[in-house]
């Protein structure tokens, strides 16, 4: 009951400021542009033989996976900001006055953001599939929307986005400074991790480690990604292992954050 009330409150918090739809809007634009653009490149010009040869049957999922491979940064930001804004605007004071059991508050936030991340996943997939399927269709390529594999992929993508938002909550608890959290999210997802993944794929032993990077684990969970397509030699986890890695990162970061920042004096 108490937990349900905490989730109710967190949902209201999320929906009562502009952040969620502004982020969602940018995500839709970004994902649709990438998916539509790459669909045009692979679908229209891939046949000339200069680009990487990707079998036509794999192309739709690769295009649709832009929902997660470029879109995952948005649920992470949403999750991180949901926590850091409490510190930034000192709203932890009324939050903890309304619910002094801090584990209940953080648990409620984690579940709420998991659900919000899933919603972001649905929105991002609508963007990537909408733009991607339209462009592929225009080039006469079957987007395979009726295939069970496609729908399993959609389900795993939604789960991945939900887990990314939960990771954001953990990150926000670990790094309560809003500016620092945003810089870390952007630097890690856009720069550090892509480099690490390419670097890790060079040797066998580093590839074994590299598959546990969150982005790799996410791609393993989703089952298709532009990254895995351009470095096909790298090893990858099973989809469920990828999911467990993401969930473990989210839980461990949140638990450590609880002890380092969430439990501290609020003054």
């Amino acid at each position: 009951m108490r937990f349900f009330a905490a989730v109710h409150s967190e949902i209201t918090k999320l929906l009562s400021t502009r952040l969620w739809w502004v982020l969602a809007l940018i995500m839709v634009g970004y994902v649709a542009l990438c998916a539509g653009g790459l669909a045009a490149i692979f679908g229209g010009f891939g046949t000339t033989g200069r680009g990487p040869a990707i079998p036509e049957a794999q192309l739709p999922l690769l295009i649709f996976s832009f929902a997660t491979s470029v879109g995952y940064v948005f649920p992470v930001l949403l999750g991180a900001l949901a926590v850091t804004s409490e510190f930034r605007f000192q709203s932890l004071t009324p939050t903890f006055l309304a619910q002094p059991r801090r584990t209940v508050v953080l648990g409620g936030k984690l579940l709420t953001l998991f659900l919000a991340g899933a919603a972001y996943g649905v929105i991002a997939l609508i963007a990537s599939i909408g733009a991607g399927a339209a462009v592929l269709g225009a080039f006469g390529i079957d987007p395979l929307l009726g295939e069970p594999d496609t729908w399993a992929f959609i389900g795993r993508s939604v789960l991945a986005m939900a887990l990314w938002a939960a990771i954001g909550v953990g990150l926000g608890a670990l790094v309560p400074s809003q500016i620092a959290a945003i810089v870390i999210v952007l630097a890690f997802t856009q720069f550090v991790e892509p480099l690490l993944r390419v670097g890790a794929s060079i040797t066998d032993w580093s590839a074994q480690v590299g598959q546990f990077l969150p982005g790799s684990a996410s791609d393993a969970l989703v089952g298709a990604s532009i990254y895995t397509s351009i470095s096909p030699s790298s090893v990858a986890l099973d989809w469920w292992q990828g999911g467990l890695v993401l969930a473990a990162i989210a839980v461990i970061a949140t638990v450590i954050g609880f002890f380092t920042s969430w439990r501290r004096d609020v003054s």
Partner: protein, 300 residues
């Protein structure tokens, strides 16, 4: 009607490193009256209140509501209403949603936010983003948060700060009414003059220690009573009063007489045939004894 429970501090202490922000505070705040919690800025008032509300962990000692710590209260917002000095608002959220967030977390009725906004006179501004609120409106919103659960205990940190004169009068009446209903009302301030018309009882702390506890009138122990007097022929008036054995000093608007009663000075002037144009007893007792208690440097 909720009945107030006493607020009890027992040997409450908070140290930051080697510095004791609050040390060994033991006292009880009774229901049915307004208690002023006074002290200069940095005296430890806010830290004490935050410990009481479970936001700051005491180094030792306890702070409870009738024996129950805040975190163990069955329904905290419906038992204790608190508003703390820091502006704890997300600027992009409307006032109504701000209150709804916490009403939902505390399991309060859906009508609670609108009712609280109505009580503090913000009913017409509920849909506005808090970022556009004036300081006075934010104070009222903080109070609305405190009143959300119709609590029997009110704990308000500097509630008068930032209010306009009309707002000050309004909050005075509200707090007096709440206390008259039997609720426990504890308000902090760094200015005695700000709350002296509101409180029955005062607690004064300085450097984290309790320096005075008692009724407001117990502060009025100053023996330096002064009279301010004026006349058209100010020099002659000063001579007459001086001749009677008083110490006088010149003010811009008259003469200040130390250790005097207004009645006595008036009679002196009358006997000398001087028409007095102003005559008043200076009531500096409260503020002065407050400053003496907290130390002169503490007034900042």
């Amino acid at each position: 009607m909720p009945t107030g429970v006493p607020i009890e501090f027992a040997r409450l202490t908070k140290s930051f490193g080697n510095v004791d922000a609050v040390s060994d505070l033991t006292l009880t705040v009774e229901p049915g009256q307004v208690t002023g919690f006074l002290g200069p800025n940095g005296a430890g008032k806010t830290t004490t209140l935050r410990m009481l509300l479970g936001l700051v962990q005491p180094s030792s000692g306890t702070a409870t509501f009738g024996g129950t710590p805040y975190a163990r209260l069955a329904s905290p917002l419906a038992t204790v209403g608190a508003s703390l000095e820091a502006a704890s608002f997300h600027p992009g959220r409307s006032a109504h949603n701000h209150l709804a967030v916490y009403a939902q977390a505390a399991g309060l009725p859906k009508t609670a936010p609108a009712a609280a906004l109505e009580k503090v006179g913000l009913a017409d501004y509920g849909s506005r983003r808090v970022g556009g609120y004036s300081l006075g409106m934010r104070q009222r919103l903080g109070l609305a948060f405190a009143l959300l659960g119709d609590p029997a205990v009110l704990v308000l940190d500097e509630p008068i700060n930032g209010l306009d004169p009309e707002g000050i009068k309004w909050i005075r009446l509200l707090l007096r009414a709440m206390a008259a209903e039997g609720r426990t009302v504890l308000i902090s301030s760094h200015l005695l003059s700000e709350v002296q018309q509101t409180v029955d009882d005062v607690i004064i702390i300085s450097h984290g220690k309790l320096v005075h506890r008692g009724e407001l009138s117990s502060l009025d122990v100053s023996d330096s009573k002064q009279v301010q007097v004026n006349a058209d022929d100010r020099e002659r008036l000063a001579e007459v009063i001086h001749a009677a054995g008083y110490t006088v000093s010149n003010l811009r608007s008259g003469i200040l007489v130390d250790n005097a009663e207004a009645a006595e000075i008036g009679r002196l002037a009358f006997d000398a045939g001087i028409a007095v144009t102003a005559l008043s007893q200076k009531r500096t007792g409260l503020e002065e004894s407050f400053l003496t208690l907290v130390g002169e440097e503490g007034s900042l």
